[in-house]
């Protein structure tokens, strides 16, 4: 099981703050997005974090991971 989190504009785009996915086969982060949001393209410039660290869209996700999708950060 993979836990998926969405923040800010991506949470609003998807409509829920989180989701989960049973990994049948190894997927990268972009494929995880497509698997849970087949009808929604991941917006350009979106960022991904795996287990609270920045990752690339082609980083491999394994069971137990927490994958977060969010727009460019705007703190400070």
């Amino acid at each position: 099981m993979v836990k998926i989190l969405y923040f800010a504009s991506l949470r609003e785009l998807v409509g829920v703050p989180e989701a989960s996915l049973d990994l049948g086969e190894p997927l990268d982060a972009a494929e995880v997005w497509d698997a849970v949001n087949p009808a929604i393209d991941l917006p350009e410039a979106s960022l991904v974090a795996i287990n609270q660290s920045y990752a690339a869209l082609d980083s491999v996700v394994v069971p137990g991971d927490e994958v977060a999708f969010f727009p460019p950060v705007t703190g400070g």
Partner: protein
């Protein structure tokens, strides 16, 4: 080195926070010669529009990790004695302080440089997002931060 990193929904009073941090951690210390501080405050104008209020959202587990990592990085790059970093989340109004970075070191170069580094690293790496409510009634996510260079 004393480090304090806080993310809070309560109002931020930067000068009080600095005074409290200093008096409770290194009240009578005589080793620091330089204190550099940065306070970020909410404006009422962004991208040409009047902003009524802002909501700051974050990814709590990652925020803590990222802020700790940039504070650690600053401590490796410069001989810092103490570091204080506080960031607001939640509902924020114009003139409210949003972020405080304060560093103490023996000499000014390290204090100035580390303070700027921490602020820029936070802006680029810490998972916070701002949503603005405009006086027009519209709400919008801030798409990106302004440049930190003049």
């Amino acid at each position: 080195m004393t480090q304090l990193i806080l993310v809070q929904s309560e109002a931020l009073e930067p000068w009080q926070a600095i005074a409290d941090f200093q008096s409770s951690n290194f009240k009578d210390h005589t080793d620091f010669g330089a204190t550099a501080t940065f306070v970020g405050t909410m404006r009422d104008l962004n991208e040409g529009d009047e902003v009524l209020e802002m909501t700051l959202e974050h990814y709590p587990a990652m925020t803590q990790k990222q802020l700790q990592s940039i504070v650690d990085e600053a401590g490796e790059k410069w001989p810092l004695l103490h570091t204080l970093l506080i960031h607001r989340v939640g509902a924020i109004k114009p003139a409210d302080p949003i972020v405080l970075v304060a560093v103490w070191s023996a000499h000014r170069a390290a204090a100035f440089d580390a303070c700027r580094f921490l602020m820029e690293a936070l802006k680029h790496q810490a998972p916070f997002w701002k949503k603005e409510s405009l006086t027009s009634g519209e709400t919008r996510w801030v798409a990106k931060n302004t440049l930190g260079t003049s």
